[in-house]
Structure formats: C-alpha cells, structure tokens
Symmetry: C2
Subunit: 213 residues, 2 copies
C-alpha cells in the first residue's frame, strides 16, 4: 500500500491551496514546501506511489490544529504526518494574547501526537521547528516574536525526542542562509519564506526523512 504523507500547519504550509473542488487536482498542494516535496518525491519515485495531502491553513495556531485534528488529520489516516506550527502562537500572543506560549504549546502538541499515534500506532511523525528571521524595518517585530518563539522551538525539539519523532531544525537553516544573502531573500517579511526559502525547508525535510520514505 502506498504511503500517505500529510502536511499540517499554518500559512507557511498552506501556500494558497484551494479548499474546495476535490476534482480539480491543479491547486490542491499550494505553493510551499509540501508542493516541492510532492514534486520531487513523486516524480523521482513513481513506483512508490506516494500520496500527498496538504491541510495547512493560514493563520493557524496550535490550538486551531487541535480544533480540526479529527477531520483534517486523523480521518485521513496518514502514514507520515508532518507538522509545522508555532509562529502564529508567538505572533498572536503579542497581538491579542490568543497564542499558546511554550508550556501550553507543549501540552497541545502532545495531545496532537497522542491522538495521531492512537489512530495509527505505526505513524511516523515529523516535527518541523517553527522559525522567524529578522528583516529590514521589522527588527523589533521579529525580536518580540522570538522572545516567545525560542522556548517553543526548544519544546518542539523536546517533544520530537520524547515521541521518537523526526525533528527538522529549520531556524539554523535560515540563520545560515542569511549569512549568504540578505534575510529578505529567504523570508520576505520575517515570517513567510520566499519561494527559495521553501526550497530550503523542502531540502532539509527530504534529508531528515529519507529513511522513513
């Protein structure tokens, strides 16, 4: 049976995918790292018959994922579940105090994973580190977000270790890229990767996940 890879997350995962028209296969995957991963794996290994689902939704915090976990994750019964979430929690905390900070982030993340494993004990879970990068004229905004995001990044790693999940360290990938070229080239507004930034995520994802594919 072919493996189903499901991507969960916020706008970085979403990539403008369409929500309706299941018959229209043009626009299901959005334009983001899941599209790149789908394109690369699907074209290189057609014999594996991978299936891909993107269920990222722009603006989502970790509590939003939990809210729609049943219909948008568990009911699809993925073999590989990839999650990237957190930056909206840090942002919404600063914005209107509706984000989950590190301890609540950890608690809800564990609930997500527990239910996924209960649903499918053989599931492979991939935890992508949430990230942000300072860009011109947004230094204070990003610095403020990082105050709350950093403890979540530590929690994300901890949760991965505790649950035998694959952890994709993305903050350092962007930090390293920023040494080669201005940060706006990789993350235009400090939060949303550019097309090239999405390729960095996809490269890292493919590198760390190669043994579970």
């Amino acid at each position: 049976m072919s493996k189903l890879i499901l991507f969960q997350g916020d706008s970085i995962t979403d990539g403008g995918r369409i929500r309706t028209n299941d018959w229209d296969l043009n626009h299901q995957m959005g334009h983001s790292y899941p599209f790149l991963i789908n394109a690369k794996l699907g074209s290189e290994y057609p014999e594996k018959d991978f299936r891909f689902i993107n269920r990222g939704i722009s603006g989502n915090r970790i509590a939003d994922l939990f809210g729609r976990w049943k219909e948008d994750t568990l009911n699809h019964n993925p073999d590989i579940l990839s999650i990237l979430v957190g930056v909206n929690d840090a942002y919404f905390h600063t914005h209107n105090n509706s984000g989950s900070l590190a301890d609540r982030y950890e608690k809800i993340y564990q609930l997500l994973i527990d239910e996924a494993k209960e649903n499918n004990p053989d599931i492979k879970i991939v935890i992508c580190e949430p990230f942000a990068l300072s860009v011109k004229d947004k230094e204070d905004f990003i610095e403020n977000i990082m105050v709350y995001l950093k403890p979540m990044q530590e929690k994300a790693k901890l949760i991965a270790e505790r649950n035998n999940a694959i952890f994709i360290p993305l903050q350092k990938i962007f930090d390293e890229a920023a040494e080669k070229k201005e940060t706006e080239y990789w993350i235009w507004d400090g939060v949303h990767p550019t097309v090239c930034g999405h390729q960095l995520i996809a490269n890292e994802w493919l590198k760390y996940c190669k043994d579970i594919l």
Copy 2:
C-alpha cells in the same frame, strides 16, 4: 545586473498565482513549473540573484498572449523569456472555433518573438512544446485535441530553430513518463500536469537552459 526570468503561458504556467497585492510575496509564482524552477535556481545560486516573474493566465490562447504582450512581457524587459502556449488553441478550436490553428499560431508566435527581440536584442527565448496526454475516459477528447496540437508542436519547434531559441520538447517527456506509470499520475485530466508532472517540466527546462542561466 541579475537576470530576470519571465514565464508566459496559460493555466499550466499560471498555477493559481495571485494577480493583485504586489506586496504579498507569498503567492506570486503560483504552484506550477515556474515555482519549481524559481525554488531550485534561487536556493542553489543565491549569488546570482535571479529574479522571476510569472505571467501565465489560465485559459489563454496565443492570441491572448499577444493581446497583453506589452504590459505583461515587454514592459518587464526580461533577460530570459519562457513561453508555453498552444493547448488552449487546439481546445478552443474544437470547442467554439476561437483557437488559432498551426499557421496562425506560427504567425502570432513570430510576432511575439519579433517584439521581444526588438525590445531587447539580447533576450534569450525559451519555447516550451505544448503537450497533451490521453487519460481514462477522455481518450476521444484528447485525440481530437491532438489532431490540432500536433501541427502546432511542429511549428513550435520550427519557430525555435528559426529564431535561435531554446526548444524544450515536452510531449516526449510525458509520453516516456506514461510508460512508467499511468498517465493520470502525470497529467490528471489530459491537459493539466499534476505536481509530479510539473517537476518533469521543470527538470527538462533546467536541463535545456543551463547554458543561458
């Protein structure tokens, strides 16, 4: 000065890109082969500082490209201009006799190229072969389209040779892929490539264009 690569075409190029909000860099490139080419080149060669513009519009025939050639191509002054157009001409010919058949396709294509060269004598032009592939329950539909598309494919190649442009042979790529796996895996409705089909186009584009990048 960094090279500007502009993609022109129909829905296959378009990929659901947003038309408005120039400030929102999340959704400019759509989810199609230009996204994959941008992601690959931009992340691998940040020092080259490539710039990418997608101006594909869903449903476009070659006459539609000519209609918006000034604002959507010439005024951007690209260094590399990549064009994929033709399948809608074949389709609309069968649908309501509004497509351009091979001779008119050739004539308009030459107008497009003449103006692009007049605008920038150093421009590099990339002509992607239009393509289609028979899929289940659409055999007659695609067969009918191919009657008109095949002569256009020959014209596309001829135009490329006559104008010292790079020709990307895409029909054979999809024909070959269809030997490995069912056609729907690559082109779900016979006309629109899947995510994996877009990777095949991007791979071929990158292979043929490597010397002009």
